[in-house]
Symmetry: D2
Subunit: 389 residues, 4 copies
């Protein structure tokens, strides 16, 4: 094994826990050509950050990301801060010659995403690479879906139905966290979870959304101001503040191959906790994925004899499935965090090979253009809006 890859992680929220676990675990299950080292965790609250450094297993805690990315002993910068900070950090890190893994959505605006993408292009020419963290691509069932489409299993794609359904805002008294503040989060359900639905739909089909017609809605416009941030939803106080992002986004889309998409991203789907569902309908077959049942994939082979046709629920836990040979025997499940572990595996493997990892910042920029087109369409009475302009 060559020299280790020393990682600095900027940010220490919920995503930081998932990334830490991935950096720790990936080299234990996959034979990586370069071993990642959990070097530095960066957070503004020094006490909290020091605690998390120890708890999550980082060698050092630091508070100034600028200093950290300037250090020569850092190879990778892993950005898990809120979206409005991504552009500045990522561009600086790339310019400093650090490989960058950046959480999704890439940025809070198309302009930022474009700048990041251009910075990544520049860096890439010098062998410094950037990747955006659409981890659900790395759920084995989703990766298998991509493989099947590529092999022609579904044929010509007619429909994509992609929903990301959550329900943590159903309660009108659920507090106002940073995720409901446009200045930090950029957008609401659309950018947070809709971005995943868009990326996954594009990834699995291998097609782009070329135009969209959408609408955004904020069902509950005022919520209790959060006293102290705790977990995903925080805790409430008496004061109320304005919700400045969407609670849900609905949109229709044209696919580059001629099919039609429908998308729902919402935090008001009562009873659905984390239901990212993508169903692809083609003229040869269909594929259905549901993140709430993430270890399986449903396949429909429309070329089978009529009396045998039906959805086959494949447990995607066989060594023949993507990523699975590294894990447990068939029938033993993986969980949420394994997508992050696979992301580390793919990112490190690409870097070690001197190749561009995917999804690139350009891919992230493209998703950002779709998000932007949905917002513009919503602002224009759901008029169909190109994603390329």
């Amino acid at each position: 094994m060559s020299a280790p890859l020393r990682v600095a992680m900027i940010g220490n929220g919920f995503m930081g826990a998932a990334h830490s676990q991935a950096w720790r675990v990936a080299p234990r299950f996959f034979d990586l050509d370069r071993e990642p080292e959990m070097a530095v965790i960066v957070g503004r609250d020094e006490q909290k950050n020091a605690h998390l450094a120890e708890h999550w297993g980082w060698q050092e805690a630091a508070s100034d990301w600028r200093e950290v990315i300037a250090r020569d002993d850092i190879d990778i910068v892993d950005i898990v801060t809120p979206g409005h900070t991504h552009a500045e950090i990522a561009i600086a890190a790339l310019d400093a010659g650090r490989h960058v893994l950046c959480e999704k959505p890439l940025a809070n605006s198309v302009d930022e995403a474009e700048a990041m993408s251009r910075a990544a292009d520049r860096a890439g020419k010098a062998g410094t690479f950037a990747m955006v963290g659409f981890t659900y691509r790395r759920v084995p069932a989703a990766a298998f879906a991509r493989q099947l489409v590529r092999e022609g299993f579904v044929g010509k794609v007619r429909h994509v139905r992609a929903d990301y359904l959550q329900d943590w805002l159903v309660d009108a008294e659920s507090p106002l966290t940073w995720r409901l503040d446009k200045s930090k989060a950029g957008s609401g359900a659309l950018g947070d979870i809709g971005a995943h639905a868009i990326d996954l739909a594009q990834f699995i089909t291998g097609e782009n959304l070329t135009r969209v017609s959408g609408t955004l809605e904020t069902f509950v416009t005022e919520r209790p101001i959060v006293g102290e941030r705790q977990g995903l939803s925080g805790t409430a106080s008496d004061e109320r503040g304005q919700v400045t992002v969407d609670d849900c986004a609905l949109f229709m889309a044209s696919l580059s191959g001629g099919g039609l998409g429908t998308f729902t991203a919402t935090r008001f789907a009562t009873g659905r906790k984390n239901a990212l569902r993508v169903e692809i309908s083609g003229d040869k077959g269909a594929i259905a994925f549901d993140l709430e049942d993430m270890n399986s994939l449903s396949l429909y082979d429309a070329t089978a004899p009529a009396d045998r046709q039906g959805f086959t629920k494949v447990l995607v836990t066989d060594p023949s499935h993507p990523y699975m040979a590294a894990w447990w025997p068939a029938g033993h499940m993986l969980g949420y965090e394994h997508g992050f572990t696979h992301q580390v595996r793919d990112f490190v493997t690409a870097i070690a090979a001197g190749e561009q990892p995917t999804p690139s910042f350009a891919d992230g920029w493209q998703v950002q253009r779709v998000l932007d087109a949905v917002e513009r369409s919503a602002g224009a009475g759901s008029a169909w809006t190109d994603t390329t302009s």
Copy 2:
């Protein structure tokens, strides 16, 4: 029991079989205040019609619907012909003093539907009633869903996700039947199955769709001309003709109570045979219905303790459920045709009581306005379009 209700059924296609079964069976399981008699079946092809009269158990076969509706011994006219004939027959029958049960969609245009609705209003004042055949309201699980919403189970409705997914046109060589001919069918997936999704969503929520933004798509624009009609899809010939209706309709909708709806009606959802699905998300609970699993209803009680929340799959076969006391012990399933049997039960019960049955022609007209608004929106770049204008 008072005098029987003598029924004349106009039309003898697939729907005729379902209606015949319903007229035959309903009085055997329900105590009806007036017994229906299967008097006359009307069809243009005399030989076929005579055969079906015997096969399905009608006392007489006739070929001229005008003569039949003029007969004093006919109490009910049951219209199961294609949509473009509904208005003329229904209005004439009502004017002749016959109660009318008319298949959905009520008509092929808003104007026709309005004329029918006005004719029904006139007739209703004289105690002659009209009903439109949205039979899925009579699936016990759907009726139970309506009851639960009325009782407040879901609270304030935020989302309605209603899909009607079929796949019988996925094969581009599947033939051109009358259902793909706008002059006969009026519309494609939108009117044929989308109408059911709209009616069911409105019925269960007790709310109307007030405006829509939608799009229509015809994926396969030319198909083999059908030699002879057989079953739902017919058989193919060499010649090709134009598909003049939509293969699929997608639309978003505002609900009268402030919620948002998304609707898909398609004949290209590979692997989905008859998946009419409606999910209602409210601030107290959620309800999910799927016609492919029609004997159950999924309920989510958001007011239950956090660790007990989940979707409860209720087998809607208990005597306490709508319609079920008349049938078998709990756990014994009903099928597609039972919705029609319940429709006869409800229609006859209302007539015997001298009351307006539901859904009325006015309800059918309202659905027609929604269908029309979707078409107009689709023609105007998916601009939001009022359903009331």
Copy 3:
């Protein structure tokens, strides 16, 4: 069409409703070579029986079954009385030259079943046929399962797991109906529902259970005496009586092909209403059936590529599936009663062709021997007991 087949139905309980529906409906959906006529219904309570004659559509009501089976205008005797009366009626009817359809279990003892089977053999030589009513064989998914096994889909059978799970006795205060009285019902869960599980397992695999090791249990030994019979469970009174049948039966079995079976029949499976489940595991594939999801069948093809293997849920509603061409388009469901309709279709078809229908009384006798062997094994400390002795 040749002369009609005039039917006399002996008995008018819950099964009478199901059989009446079947006699009425079968000729409307299937082209039968001889048309059944609902001639006479026989019941001891004359008033109730007259009411049911009208309600269910029988031409006549009668109270003495002996008189009825002696009538020359009766072709078929349909026996839907409790099990302790089957032998006497069936043998007399066969001896009188009437075709006999007899509800399951064939009898309350092996001796009775043997006598019936011998009577049927004698009658068969004269062209008079007898069939036992294991209707679940006629659920399309079960018939399709049989077809698949016959075609070699599962290969060598290793396991049969067959359960019939109900829960209507979970409540210890649920009343003492005739089904809990050994003198009438013969046995409890074992004979009532276990018989179905045995027949279905043998039917689908095409193998017999050759020996069994089982146990019977009565969890609640005393129950309120039922005031008046109503529905399946009756209503309670203050007095208590002894439960003289089993609440549940568990047994293991050897299959004639070398596989192993496990069987559970219980009325104490809380939450399971009518869950007759059969799963066949073979060296080439597996098949799983569940009566609570009766319109589908799950198939596992162990010869498929490793990454595509999974259970395929086939909606058994395609015209290519058994019985389905007579009904609705693909995706439209059948219910509980359709098994009875198919039974009439198969029975009448065999009679019209002068052929022995299946399952024969000999098949019913074989099931009875299995039931008897389970009881004997249970009485002998679960010692393995041959079903052939």
Copy 4:
């Protein structure tokens, strides 16, 4: 935090990977009172062991377990070797004053298990503790099931249906691994997976199996001798050897509370990969668990209104569920390995508190007596056999 707990793991097969991951991850997600240190991994093949030490993250590799357990710097001995070695290692380790975590089944015979249990009792008096690794108790859904039963949710237990279904031996050419060799594995499906089903059934109900009637079967008696061990199933060679363990075990059981159990453990359940299923039916409710759907638990509340009763599928991912507050937001899944992580958490917590962890060796001995009783019953024609003798 007090002094770390230095761990020596004996064995380096598939279980070693799972345990290594658990030791590494547990302190990162749970606040443990003492931090485990991955000190030594012990394996006979020095080269392989050295490689795994590095790969899995152990500080040292060693080849002689006797030397290792004698070391004063070792606090915990974690035994993941085949069953025939458990007794010797565990007793020596306990006698040497090391806490012991031992994989299941505890031993290959009741005598060994008894000796181990007595050694654990002796050690326990000196504050040295032993635990047996029935990790599935630590799947949150299983722990939640236990909690519900304890709270009275199911009431009086009538039925336990517990199956552990795998299919990796369906192919008669699948090779002869050590798991099929009685001298190493002790027993086949019975001890390997049946032990889990027994433990889980007893754990959830809080009752013991008091007597059993069972049978064992070896469907394929000769298999290709494995060239070199690889993964769970190995690779094949030309020579054939005798399978000396059971392919499947079926048994019935009496529960200490008066209910009845049925158990199946098999490696021939085609299509079922890792289906450990336990369903508890009581007079107040039912609970169903399936390891192939491990993030959910199905609950049936028989005290709910009749029309609302049904199985509620609870996603056991809420912070209110056992272990879940340490992990991700609701709706984010855990996998197979998390049960091991929770096991480390519970083991370390008990040791730090100076308390006996569960399941104790006495619990493991009790399971061993059940396994033994099943074998004896199988050898005695399935005669009912006490588990206490």
